[in-house]
């Protein structure tokens, strides 16, 4: 990380300029001061976000201690709150989204970089990127009114009668086909992160030096063999980073999940059953949380947990993505 972006061409003018700037024009000193201030402001902002989210949930830690992180209770009547159900739902839905979206993203990025006629590449790529521009709440409405009934009527019964009878993984695909639930939330999210991951994959694949690919073609490799044996291994660090960026997005996705996850505080072995994620719990319960109530503090603590989760994932992802694309 320490040498990221150092030594690339664009840094040359700034450092060359350093010498004669010293002790010069007052206007330049002010200019630089303003720039530094803006940079520090961005830094301060994230610091404040961390501090306030941490501080916001403190009362719940005083009340429950470490139990908050190991309890699956969420009971406003007895004022008992725990994070387990929401954390479980967040991670499972995000994993489903990534598992579904990544193979599709490989397929689409292969199509866009190698298969599609050059004339069509831009327009198809743009159309797929438009999918990423559609607001989360639209995915939520489409998911709730269109996808959920289809899941209940066709997809879940079909999965139950096929994958559901397989030993071991069968329990994942069993239970009442009610449409809303963990699986539906994961699938909708897969569609939401798909264009994002695809765009990053395409960027990585386009950075593979043509010489490497042509060497493989030269010894008789087919297009798909070049893709799997040259392009993907060449970009693997950035590809892993791109997948983690997608995972980070999925962890914090709120509105679409809130519509389709079913908002039930329970953990079930079946992916068909309703559940809750951190973000959906916050969005859903916040209107009923009175200022100063323990429930509000529990929601703020959940927010802090989500921040920690996504910060770790995003930080690792950024290091991986940048290290490949910028050196």
């Amino acid at each position: 990380m320490s040498d990221v972006a150092v030594g690339n061409l664009s840094s040359a003018p700034a450092s060359r300029h350093r010498g004669f700037a010293r002790g010069e024009q007052a206007s330049d000193i002010i200019f630089r001061g303003v720039l530094y201030a803006a940079g520090i402001l961005v830094l301060t902002l994230l610091g404040l976000i961390i501090i306030l989210l941490f501080q916001g949930g403190l009362p719940v830690l005083y009340a429950f201690g470490i139990d908050f992180f190991t309890s699956s209770a969420w009971n406003p009547v007895t004022e008992k709150y725990g994070a387990v159900v929401a954390v479980y739902g967040t991670i499972i839905t995000a994993v489903i989204a990534v598992v579904v979206a990544v193979p599709a993203a490989f397929g689409i990025s292969f199509f866009l970089t190698e298969v599609a006629p050059p004339v069509l590449r831009r327009s198809i790529g743009t159309a797929i990127q438009l999918l990423a521009a559609i607001p989360s709440i639209i995915f939520g409405m489409w998911g709730f009114f269109i996808v959920v009934p289809l899941m209940a009527a066709y997809v879940q019964p079909a999965l139950a009668s096929t994958l559901g009878v397989v030993p071991v993984i069968g329990t994942l695909f069993s239970g009442a086909p009610i449409g809303t639930g963990i699986l539906t939330a994961g699938l909708i999210m897969a569609l939401m992160i798909l264009p994002f991951i695809t765009a990053l994959f395409v960027e990585v694949l386009e950075s593979v030096p043509p010489m490497f690919k042509e060497a493989a073609y030269g010894v008789g490799a087919t297009t798909s063999e070049v893709f799997t044996a040259v392009s993907i291994p060449y970009g693997r660090t950035a590809i892993v980073g791109a997948v983690m960026l997608g995972l980070g997005r999925a962890l914090g996705e709120t509105m679409a999940v809130t519509f389709v996850i079913g908002n039930a505080n329970r953990i079930s072995a079946s992916l068909f059953s309703p559940g809750a994620s951190i973000a959906s719990t916050i969005a859903n319960e916040f209107p009923e949380a009175a200022p100063g109530s323990l429930k509000l503090f529990a929601l703020l603590e959940l927010g802090f947990l989500l921040f920690v989760l996504s910060f770790i994932v995003l930080a690792v992802a950024r290091v991986l993505v940048r290290s490949r694309l910028e050196t």
């Binding site: 972006a5 061409l9 664009s10 840094s11 003018p13 060359r16 300029h17 700037a21 024009q25 630089r32 720039l35 530094y36 803006a38 940079g39 520090i40 961005v42 830094l43 902002l45 994230l46 306030l52 501080q55 916001g56 193979p103 599709a104 397929g107 689409i108 190698e114 298969v115 599609a116 198809i124 159309a127 438009l130 999918l131 521009a133 559609i134 607001p135 989360s136 709440i137 409405m141 489409w142 009114f145 695809t198 008789g220 087919t222 297009t223 063999e225 980070g248 997005r249 914090g252 709120t254 509105m255 973000a279 916040f286 929601l299 927010g303 989500l306 996504s310 910060f311 995003l314 940048r322």
Partner: protein, 280 residues
């Protein structure tokens, strides 16, 4: 690669077919979503929708207050975030390489760029809503501003880096002060790209719902008072779509159609702008 050629060619053909199919499926899903919006939203779309405020169920009503509320909050967010974002972007491009601060700020900005928007809402709730006694339009605008900020920073830095260094060096060689070079040479060269970044940021902010739930809250009345709860299109859609009244659900679909058209329009315009800017 030791297998026989026909087998390998067949595998290549399968791979291509599966890849093409996945792209086709993605495009079909996009078309399906857009078709859903048009088929369900177009019937409730009318001029009355744009000139009437939200009303209690059974009395019709429109989305005027929500649309105006969204415009006010997004507009203020842009006014607050753009100058800071452009300056921080210039900082990263011009001074960010040789200092630890620059690298840290770039990293932090990348994290902010992908941070869950609901957390931005909770943060603004903690820092503005709770201490200052209530939900307000200004809190919503600031939350959206924090969402716009990292996009603008990133776009500005990336676009400034694309300006050929020969241009900058020519300006420096003429003895121009640093700020002069940035203002009149590099920023001018990067203008189209930065405007594109701002438009994309606006498109993103316009559809954000989660951060507004904790900040401007939403309101079913006409209100342009920035210190009071303020309606917004996404939050109204959320409230209406979850309601048991068919009429409200219909209005929610119309609102969804409106917001998606707006967001897609901004995206397409900004892409065209970038293409034109590059073409010159």
């Amino acid at each position: 690669m030791s297998q026989r050629l026909p087998l390998r060619l067949a595998r290549d053909a399968t791979f291509r077919a599966v890849a093409t199919l996945s792209a086709v499926v993605a495009l079909l899903l996009l078309a399906w979503i857009l078709w859903t919006l048009v088929s369900r939203g177009a019937s409730s779309l009318s001029t009355a929708l744009l000139v009437t405020d939200t009303l209690p169920p059974g009395r019709g009503g429109g989305l005027r207050n929500a649309i105006i509320g969204s415009l006010i909050q997004v507009g203020m967010a842009v006014i607050i975030a753009t100058p800071i974002g452009v300056l921080a972007g210039i900082f990263l491009a011009e001074l960010g390489d040789r200092s630890l601060l620059g690298r840290v700020v770039r990293f932090i900005n990348d994290v902010l760029l992908s941070a869950p928007s609901i957390l931005i809402g909770l943060f603004v709730y903690q820092i503005l809503v709770r201490p200052f006694g209530g939900f307000s339009g200004i809190a919503g605008a600031i939350a959206l501003g924090i969402i716009i900020l990292p996009v603008v920073v990133r776009a500005t830095e990336d676009m400034l880096r694309l300006v050929p260094s020969a241009l900058r060096e020519a300006a420096f060689a003429l003895g121009a002060p640093h700020w002069h070079v940035v203002a009149n040479v590099t920023l001018r060269g990067a203008r189209a790209g930065i405007v594109t970044g701002i438009l994309l940021a606006i498109a993103r902010a316009a559809g954000e719902t989660a951060p507004l739930l904790f900040t401007s809250l939403g309101s079913l009345n006409w209100s342009v008072n920035l210190t009071k709860p303020m309606s917004s299109l996404p939050v109204t859609i959320y409230q209406y779509a979850g309601s048991p009244f068919d009429e409200w659900v219909g209005i929610a679909w119309a609102g969804a159609l409106l917001i998606t058209l707006g967001v897609l329009f901004l995206n397409i315009v900004s892409r065209l702008l970038l293409t034109l800017g590059r073409g010159k």
